[in-house]
């Protein structure tokens, strides 16, 4: 299950996981993007499924999860990708409703989706959860007080989840993208500025596929002894 699966990174994650044998279920508020993602999956011969609802509303999450789990009988991996900066302001200008929305989409949605999926994973005594952090959780950034706080919160949430779920053989880790070449990110840059980025040691932003490789690693048995950790995929932009 990929929360935010119709976004730029989400599409790459869904394609990668489908390619290694997972049945992808896309949870995303953007129905048009969901249809596009399912169409791209179909081109590779994979039948994708999407559910469109507000990931920040507990009843919507519980109902959607109940329907999906009833249909499939289980869940191997939950990837919580939905989120983003959404609103950026110096703190004295930050409207409370926008601050709250950033926290809700990045943190609360992750909490609600985990809460809905975990009973099944515990009963299975197997499962992998990947939540999304960010380089900004480590460094902060001016105008991103809400976003940086939400992502650092996701990390601590994930560590706690890891300890709670470990006795049930359910792992929880974070993927940490840095700057990634998605349409949403690139629209903030002129082509000249994008080509002239100097703050990434490897000289370019990540391709969404490179983030997807990290997610695939974290849900696979290759990382079977890793839990409560963060894997940052950022070309050396922030070094942990």
């Amino acid at each position: 299950m990929v929360n935010g699966g119709a976004g730029g990174i989400g599409l790459a994650v869904v394609m990668k996981l489908a390619g290694i044998g997972y049945q992808p279920i896309i949870l995303d508020v953007n129905e048009a993007a969901c249809r596009e993602t399912v169409a791209q999956l179909a081109e590779t011969g994979v039948k994708g499924e999407y559910h469109t609802f507000d990931l920040t509303r507990k009843d919507d999450v519980q109902n959607a999860m109940r329907d999906i789990l009833a249909k499939y009988g289980g869940i191997a991996a939950l990837v919580n990708l939905a989120g983003g900066t959404l609103y950026a302001h110096p703190i004295q200008e930050f409207p409370l409703d926008e601050w709250q929305r950033v926290i809700d989409v990045n943190l609360k949605a992750t909490f609600l989706c985990c809460q809905a999926a975990i009973p099944t994973m515990k009963a299975q005594r197997k499962g992998a959860i990947v939540n999304t952090t960010s380089n900004f959780a480590l460094t902060g950034d001016a105008t991103r007080t809400a976003y940086a706080a939400s992502k650092a919160a996701v990390v601590s949430f994930t560590k706690s989840l890891a300890v709670e779920l470990a006795p049930f053989n359910v792992r929880a880790n974070c993927i940490g993208p840095g700057r990634t070449a998605t349409a949403r990110v690139m629209q903030n840059f002129t082509p000249e500025r994008w080509a002239g980025l100097t703050d990434i040691p490897m000289g370019r932003a990540a391709e969404p596929e490179e983030i997807a490789e990290g997610v695939a690693f974290l849900v696979s048995d290759d990382s079977a002894f890793m839990t409560g950790q963060s894997l940052h995929v950022n070309g050396g932009m922030v070094r942990t």
């Binding site: 490897m202 990290g214 048995d221 990382s223 002894f225 995929v233």
Partner: protein, 240 residues
């Protein structure tokens, strides 16, 4: 693969050989090195045992020359060689401090320095260094070990910046307590290594094979955008 004659290094050498790597077993103990070489050859892989003291500049230079003479290139350096004696600071001989820093940290520097010109000329490669959870949290009677492994983390972050422009990634792995000879030797009388596992979230101490999946991820194309990172593989004992 330095220190590949036993423990984690041996498991990594076998694991990478099973994935098709030709492995240089750079190991101080010539008998152990030959045993691993024979085992890889028995599995129809390719291996070359080269007795090496990673703390000795001439030995490292000679090992590198043998590697290039035989294979003409280097894809991955795994700095795994390490020693872990126990001593409280006030009783620690300067010679023991020098030995631990010399093998664990200076050895990592010497081997990395030896391989870097080849990696730069290739414009490809991976350096993966074995640190330890002790670098993150410390432990009694191992201040030299913790210092050496912490130094590996700083070295890794710095070297990643130097090599990123060439597409070469540099990362560190932090295992936890792993079922190998050195931790067993350090146990108090009557203590059992297995009992330590009761306090670890995933319910057991590490097995040497737990490091193979993460090493392969970092060494492979899937990990091409991960650099300057510390990847912690310890059953959740320390959540980084």
């Amino acid at each position: 693969m330095t220190g590949a004659g036993q423990g984690i290094g041996r498991a990594l050498a076998l694991g990478m050989a099973d994935e098709g790597a030709a492995v240089i077993i750079a190991e101080l103990n010539a008998n152990n090195a030959r045993e691993v070489e024979r085992e890889i050859q028995r599995r129809e892989g390719e291996a070359l045992a080269v007795q090496t003291d990673v703390s000795d500049e001439a030995s490292v230079t000679a090992m590198m020359a043998r590697c290039l003479e035989r294979f003409g290139k280097v894809d991955v350096l795994v700095n795994n060689a390490g020693i872990f004696p126990n001593a409280p600071v006030e009783a620690m001989d300067e010679s023991e401090w020098d030995r631990v820093i010399g093998t664990n940290l200076v050895g990592t520097f010497l081997c990395s320095r030896a391989v870097v010109p080849t990696l730069i000329a290739q414009r490809s490669g991976r350096i993966i260094s074995m640190a330890s959870g002790r670098a993150l949290e410390g432990a009694k009677n191992g201040s030299h070990y913790a210092a050496s492994k912490g130094g590996i983390l700083g070295f890794t972050r710095a070297l990643s910046l130097e090599l990123a422009p060439f597409g070469i990634t540099v990362n560190a792995l932090c295992p936890g307590i792993t079922d190998t000879a050195q931790p067993r030797a350090n146990l108090p009388p009557g203590a059992r290594l297995e009992d330590v596992g009761a306090n670890i979230p995933l319910g057991r101490i590490g097995e040497v094979e737990d490091l193979v999946g993460p090493t392969l991820f970092l060494a492979s194309d899937a990990g091409r955008f991960v650099t300057g990172q510390t990847v912690v593989v310890n059953g959740g004992a320390i959540r980084w």
